[in-house]
Amino acid sequence: MNNMEEIIRTFIAEKILFSGNGYGHPDDASFLEEGIVDSMGIMELVMFVEETFGITVEDEELVPDNFDSVSKLAAYIRRRSPVPTGS
């Protein structure tokens, strides 16, 4: 099971979309294009990543290649995380 992707999907569904029906988008869906995460949500997502995975997200790393879909974010966290993240 892709634990990382599931953790991210669950966070976005519950804390950003407040959806009772789960995430509802494919893992490669662009947050920006689909309007899934906006300026307010992106900062909450950054805080979530920092607090949950012990990563400090540098300002220069907050870019679409690292953050703009569940898959991209999962890959970024795996690259940066100091602990095994079960891919």
Binding site: S39, I42, E60, V63
Partner: protein, 498 residues
């Protein structure tokens, strides 16, 4: 003069007008696209005076559609792609749009809300016949005709749709260009949406001088805006307070060099003095223009000259050329320095009124004078300092949010007796939305349920930050909730808690 002709008059055909999605478009490219769209809109049955909708992100298609609609003597109605479909549907009906220029990516989200006739961004190729048609379109009958309808806050039962005429746009654009001393050398980074009057003013001013616009629709990732600003040697940036909060506190903006950045504009709410100071310190080579305006004034009303930023910190300045601003007391006379009064405005940029809302129009526009609803003082030099607002809206993340709309939504929960929504100063949002509610006796409804109800029924930027349950709300002798008293009480509690 038709705004479309006015905006395209100065840009040389081969000059880059637009940078978007890594591609460059010249003024000639814009003219061709607009001509093709004008033909399509005409073939769609549009007549002069008809409202034609525009639902797209900032793009060449948006700009060309906007120009085409106005050139035809029709009225452009820009819509927010983040709106709830039900609200969009109501506004399509209210404004009478039977035709919509639409980016295809929004078709699925809004399919039920759109008018029957759509013109998509999947356009036919340009032909010389399009140019011939464009050049032979009739002149405007009068520049007092509506050019655009700008949606602002207001409930669906009493929408506030601002009529903006060709004269309004031409006048306000001339004024802003003069204030900011804009030239064809300008390359402005645009992160503000064009459906918002501040964003549209950037489009108007920079097209009129023959400059360039660099579009960034990914400010959600501020780094992308910074990289683009660098790569395209942007000379200008414009933003609302929450954007400056992001740039200064959550991005590499203070640490990077932008040697070409010379003109920074701020409007859309009050930027806290601490952030103004940080902006000045990290951008010593740029001119910072603090401005104030309203959609009802096309865009801008006042400017604080950059050289007075320190000595008049916190002021919104004085009226822009062609606009007379006064701060008046209840008698209608100018207040003395230090006294509080309402800002009123006169000028060719003042809208003739709201669409189909006589009651709201008569209160806001009195004998051609705009009652801004903003309370202010003036100093001995005549510089204006805003202190409060009489109008019942909140400026949150750059959006003008109707308190009444949130209250009406909350009150759909039948266990609530009363609700009052106010704004609380917030560094990130500008103002955060706070909802005070009175719950029916013996009811079990919780703040969490009220939050959930708001999330289901309102767009995100209208969600309250906090729901506070109280036994009662401060009321006037006539039984009306007194929001100023509620705000005072709330701010006093905040101060005590700090």
């Amino acid at each position: 003069m038709n705004v479309a002709d006015y905006l395209l008059e100065c840009g040389e055909d081969e000059r880059v007008a637009l940078v978007a999605d890594r591609s460059h478009s010249t003024y000639l490219d814009i003219k061709k696209k607009a001509a093709t769209l004008a033909r399509e809109i005409l073939e769609g049955g549009a007549q002069p005076g008809d409202a034609v909708g525009l639902l797209a992100s900032n793009s060449l298609f948006w700009i060309a559609g906007y120009l085409a609609i106005m050139k035809l003597g029709c009225v452009a109605v820009p819509f927010n792609p983040a709106a709830m479909p039900a609200e969009l549907s109501a506004m399509v009906g209210f404004t009478g749009c039977q035709l919509m220029c639409l980016q295809r990516r929004y078709l699925r989200r809004f399919s039920e809300a759109l008018p029957g006739d759509l013109i998509s961004d999947d356009m036919p190729a340009y032909s010389d016949q399009d140019a011939a048609l464009w050049n032979n379109l009739p002149e405007l009958e009068s520049d007092e005709q509506d050019a655009a309808l700008m949606l602002t806050s207001g409930t669906t039962s009493s929408p506030r749709v601002v009529r903006v005429t060709h004269k309004n746009i031409n006048a306000n654009t001339d004024s802003i260009i003069a204030c900011l001393d804009l030239t064809e050398a300008e390359r402005i980074m645009v992160v503000l949406p064009f459906y918002y009057c501040f964003g549209t003013s950037l489009l108007h001013t920079h097209l009129r001088v023959g400059g360039s616009l660099v579009l960034c629709n990914s400010f959600v990732y501020p780094q992308t805006a910074l990289d683009l600003m660098d790569a395209e040697n942007c000379t200008g940036f414009a933003g609302v307070p929450s954007m400056y909060q992001t740039l200064l506190r959550d991005s590499a903006f203070p640490r990077r060099e932008f040697p070409h950045l010379r003109k920074i504009q701020q409007a859309g709410g009050k930027l806290p003095p601490i952030l103004i100071q940080e902006l000045v310190e990290c951008r010593p080579n740029a001119q910072i223009y603090i401005m104030y305006g309203q959609t009802e004034a096309t865009a801008r009303l006042s400017i604080l000259p950059p050289e007075l930023l320190r000595s008049k910190l916190g002021s919104v300045g004085h009226g822009i050329p062609g606009t007379k601003l006064q701060v008046v007391g209840e008698s209608g006379e100018d207040v003395a320095p230090g006294e509080v009064g309402e800002i009123i405005a006169r000028g060719d940029n003042i809208s003739p009124g709201y669409l189909n809302n006589e009651e709201a129009t008569s209160k806001k526009f009195v004998n051609g004078t705009l009652r801004t609803g903003d309370l202010a003082t003036v100093d001995a030099d005549g510089f204006i300092y805003i202190v409060d607002r009489t109008s019942d809206f909140i400026k949150s993340h750059g959006y003008r949010v109707s308190s009444q709309q949130i209250e009406e939504t909350i009150l759909q929960i039948t266990d609530l007796v009363a609700a009052a929504v106010i704004g609380e100063p917030d560094l990130a949002a500008g103002e955060a939305i706070i909802a005070y509610v009175v719950i029916r006796e013996r009811s079990q409804v919780s703040p969490d349920e009220i939050h959930a109800h708001c999330r289901q029924n309102l767009p995100r930027y209208m969600w309250p930050k906090e729901v506070i349950v109280v036994d009662s709300l401060p009321k006037s002798a006539q039984g009306k909730i007194v929001k100023s008293a509620l705000r005072e009480r709330h701010n006093a509690e905040l101060a005590r808690a700090e």
